[in-house]
Amino acid sequence: MKAVCWMGKENMQVHNVPDPTILNPRDAIIRITSTCICGSDLHLYNGFVPTMEQGDIMGHEFMGEVVEVGPGVSRDKLKVGDRVVVPFTIACGNCTSCQDKLWSSCDNSNPNAWIAEKLMGYSPSGLFGYTHMLGGYAGGQAQYARVPFADIGPLKIPDGISDEKAVFLSDIFPTGYMGAENCNIRPGDTIAVWGCGPVGQFAIRSCFMLGADRVIAIDRVPERLEMAREAGAETLNFEEVDILEALREMTGNQGPDACMDVVGMEASGHGLVFAMDKAKQFLHTQMDRPIVLRQAILACKKGGTVSVPGVYASFIDKVPMGAYVNKGLTMKTGQTHMMRYMQPLLERIQKGDIDPSFVISHVVPIDQAPAAYRTFRDKQDDCTKVVLKPWETAAAA
C-alpha cells in the first residue's frame, strides 16, 4: 500500500509498504477513504517532537471502511463493511482511566509507555502516527491502517454523511470542542482564543455552542481571521496590535473569562523573549516555545480558566507563575478524550448545527502529501486544512 513516511526533519516521502495485518485479537483493518494532515503533524515535520523514527507512517485523522476484524472484536460492535471514523487516541476501555472516561489517559494502549514515563512521570494513551514515546503506531496517512482496540474507538458513520463532514470527528472537531468545554463557559462569558488554525476554528464555534457571548480570536493569517469572523468572533492580529492592551480595552479592564491556547509549542511572537525561546529551541535546551501560554496567563481574568488544547511536548521556561498563582487561575489541558465527544458531535452534524467541511482548503491525492505538508506549514495558497485521498492518483486530481 502507499503510505506517507516521516524520513527526517522536513522530509516526508510516499513509499510502497506492506499492508497492515491483524496483530492482536481486538484489532481491525480499515481501508482508508479520507485522511488529513493535522497542525500537530507539523511539529513532527519540523522535527520538534522527540522519538520519531525514520520510516514511520504518519497520520492520525482518518476514516474508511472496515475490511478485517480480529477474533476479539464483538460483531455487535464492529463488522466488515462498516464505515467508521477512527479517533486519534487509542484506548482499551477496561482500565481505570478508560472507565473514568479519561480515554486519552488509557493505561494499556502504549507499548512504549516507559519512554513517556521518563519524560512525563506516567504515560498517556497510545496515538496513531505520533512518535514512539506515544506508542509508535503506524498512522493513517496510508491506504490501510491497523486499528487496535477496534471495539472501543471507531465510530460508525451513516451513509448520508459525506467523508468531508465526518472525518474531522477523528481529532480536530472534538479537540476544539474539549478546549471550549475546558473553559468552564457560563452564559455571557468572553473567551479569547489564540490560534485560528483548524482546531481554533472548531474551538471558536464550540465556545458559541456552549453559550459564550463573545469570542476574541487571535492570529496573523488574514484568511484564518476572516474564517473566525464568519463564525461570529471578533479578531485581533498580533502583528498589528499589542494583544494584552487590546484585550484589556475590549473587556473593560477585566480580562477574558477564559483564555485558550490553541497554538502550542511552536508559537510565533516578537521581541527579545521570543528570540531567546527560538534560540533555546534550536539548541534543544528548551523544546517548546510558550509565547502564547505566557500571554494567556497574563491576559486571563482573575479566577479565570486557561484551557490548553495546543500541543506541548516537553519543557518550557519563564512561565509567569506569579500571575498564575496570584490571580487564582485554573489550567485545564489534555489530549482529547475522544470517545466522550464523537457521538454527540456526530449528532450535531446530523442536526445541521455545524458543517465541519468549512475548514477544508485542499483535497489532494496521497502522492502529493509531501508538497501539501510544505504548503500547509508555510500557510501558502490560503491553506487551512488538507485532506488526502489515498486511492486517487495525481492524474485524476
Binding site: M1, A3, C5, W6, M7, G8, K9, Q13, H15, V17, P18, D19, P20, T21, L23, N24, P25, R26, G47, P50, T51, M52, E53, Q54, G55, D56, I57, G72, C92, G93, N94, C95, T96, Q99, D107, N108, S109, N110, P111, N112, A113, W114, I115, K118, G126, H132, G135, G136, Y137, A138, A142, R146, P148, F149, F282, L283, H284
Partner: protein
C-alpha cells in the same frame, strides 16, 4: 548463595559501583552532548538514550547492588482474577518478554524455556514453593537446574476497593557493570524487565491483550531508523543476550 564468593563479589561490587556511577554518567553525558550538538533525528535519539542512561546510572548509585528486583502495579481487577491469570504458569510467556514458553508439568512443577545469548534456548525446571490462593505465589528453579532463580508475586486488594496491588519480585545473580550498562541501554536491565513484564500483565488482565506494534508496516528505516528502533526497544519480542544474564551468570 553469595557467601562462598563473598570476597570476590565485594571487590567486583566496588568496580561495579565505580563503573555504574562515574564513568557511566560521563559516558551518558557524552552521548547527550553528542546528540544535542547535532540537530538530526538519530542524534536526538542518542541524546535521549544518553539522558536515560544518566538517569539510570544516577539511580543505580542510590540503590545498593541488590540481588533482587521488584515492581508494583495497581490493576483494575479483583485479587481472584489476578491470581488466576498468574497461577496458570502457561500464561507467563504471554507477558514475560524473555520467556519463550512455560509448560505446566503438574500442580507445582513447570518447565521454563528462556531465550539467552544468540537466541539460544535455556531451559530449567521450576517448582512452586508457596501458594496461598488469591494472595501470593512463590517459585524457584529446582536445585539441580543450570539456572538459579526464584520469584514471587503478591496480590493485595486496594483498601478502598480500587483494584489490586500486584507486586512481583525476582531474585537473580547480579552481573558486571559493563553488561549492566549494555543491558540498560537495550532494555534488558532486570529492574526494567520486571516493570515491563508487570505492565504487560496488567494489560493482559484488564484489556485481554498486550499492546504491540511488532509486525506493523513502516517505510525504509535506513541506518538512523534502525538505530532508533534498538534504542526504543522495539526490535524484537524475544529475549536478547542479557535476558538469561538477568537470572544467572552460570548459564
Amino acid at each position: 548463595m553469595n557467601s562462598r564468593n563473598s570476597s570476590q563479589a565485594s571487590s567486583e561490587r566496588g568496580l561495579n559501583d565505580f563503573l555504574s556511577s562515574n564513568s557511566l554518567l560521563i559516558g551518558a553525558a557524552a552521548l547527550m552532548a553528542f546528540g544535542i550538538t547535532r540537530r538530526s533525528k538519530t542524534s536526538l535519539a542518542l541524546a535521549t538514550a544518553g539522558g536515560l542512561l544518566a538517569a539510570n546510572a544516577s539511580r543505580s548509585r542510590r540503590q545498593s547492588n541488590a540481588s533482587h528486583t521488584r515492581a508494583t502495579f495497581l490493576v483494575n481487577s479483583s485479587p481472584e482474577k489476578a491470581y488466576q491469570l498468574w497461577r496458570d504458569f502457561s500464561n507467563l510467556a504471554r507477558f514475560m518478554r524473555h520467556v519463550k514458553s512455560v509448560q505446566v508439568l503438574d500442580e507445582t512443577n513447570s518447565e521454563w524455556v528462556v531465550l539467552g545469548p544468540m537466541e539460544r534456548e535455556i531451559r530449567w525446571y521450576a517448582e512452586i514453593i508457596d501458594d496461598v490462593k488469591n494472595e501470593r505465589i512463590s517459585w524457584r528453579s529446582q536445585p539441580d537446574s543450570l539456572v538459579q532463580t526464584s520469584g514471587s508475586v503478591e496480590f493485595q486488594p486496594h483498601r478502598a476497593g480500587r483494584g489490586t496491588f500486584v507486586t512481583a519480585t525476582v531474585r537473580y545473580t547480579p552481573g558486571g557493570a559493563l553488561s549492566k550498562a549494555i543491558a540498560t541501554m537495550l532494555g534488558k536491565h532486570p529492574q526494567f524487565m520486571i516493570r515491563e513484564d508487570l505492565r504487560r500483565f496488567k494489560a493482559l488482565l484488564e484489556a485481554g491483550e498486550t499492546p504491540t506494534t511488532l509486525g506493523q508496516p513502516h517505510g525504509p528505516r535506513g541506518v538512523h531508523g534502525s538505530v532508533e528502533q534498538v534504542l526504543f526497544r522495539e526490535t524484537t519480542n524475544l529475549a536478547a543476550p542479557q535476558a538469561a544474564h538477568a537470572y544467572s551468570k552460570t548459564a
